[in-house]
Symmetry: C2
Subunit: 149 residues, 2 copies
DNA sequence: CTCAAATTTTAGCGATTGCTACAATTCTGT
DNA sequence: ACAGAATTGTAGCAATCGCTAAAATTTGAG
């Protein structure tokens, strides 16, 4: 074993992974917005992510090239089939994480925030355990008494 | 509440947050390497993160400007007091997440990988629940029991 | 319809992180 | 001590994401 300290699998190529996270956040957001309103526009995404519309525009452009989003100049944004599939997967994963956090006694607001950050880093195996433990809500929900409101 | 759709707290300014994650990963790595060997060098970090030594070099330079790392040209890398404090905090958090994943029945390898990704996104409150549930290892460790009730 | 408002796009800047190629320095074996 | 190996630093490129300013387009009010 030449360099078997503990390097192998972990430690992602951050740059690429961050771009992937962005893609997931965006398709998830577009899907969510389309569920509430009739169309999703650059401005909607800019508000949601609290960034400028210019930033959104460029990211949408990239995701279009990657075949996740579809749009025409000055027109609303739609999901491709590929985008819909990814959005659905992300949504499921997101909800499992969110419900799990609630199940172990994390308050609603914290759970919402943490789920956003955690969702991209949960492997299928861990996700499955989250799911199982949320379903069989054995004795998890037992925080000394949920925090103070 | 002007725009209280559900935007407020979540959704970080990714760029800044990613830089912060990198900082945490690096001080944590430097601390870990210094615990095993006598000194930490650029090459060690390049191997660990599977990136080129050039990338490491530039990041070390940035973290030095931020007062987390200390080094001289062509010399090994050390942690400043501030860097040590951050590394210690990250290490604790990392271990809590890791142990929690093991406690809920995730296999060792998956737990190691996921802990790396999750650690940066766990709030103090969620971390506390992780800790509490790991300690009181009630009925968590029960993988494979996918029996339907 | 027409003109102003809202929205979207383009141009251009900076920061961070990835790379290769090459130069500079330190380390090592003889 | 010295030459070659290993390590570290520099130069310069690209991708992603953040911004402001200004141009282009669409929308909407009168």
């Amino acid at each position: 074993m030449t360099t078997a300290t503990s390097i192998s699998e972990p430690h992602r190529r951050t740059r690429r992974d961050h771009a992937t996270e962005t893609a997931e956040d965006y398709v998830e957001a577009v899907a969510d917005i389309l569920k509430r309103r009739t169309k999703c526009r650059v401005t909607d995404l800019a508000r949601r992510f609290a960034v400028s519309h210019v930033t959104v525009n460029r990211i949408v452009e990239r995701l279009q090239k990657e075949g996740l989003l579809a749009t025409q100049p000055y027109q609303p944004i739609n999901l491709t089939q590929k985008g819909k599939r990814l959005a659905s997967k992300c949504r499921d994963r997101h909800e499992i994480v969110h419900r799990f956090l609630l199940a172990i006694g994390v308050d609603e607001e914290t759970a919402a925030i943490d789920a956003e950050g955690i969702e991209h880093h949960v492997s299928p195996r861990t996700l499955q355990r989250f799911q199982e433990l949320t379903d069989s809500q054995s004795t998890l929900t037992r925080p000394g008494s949920s925090s103070r409101p």
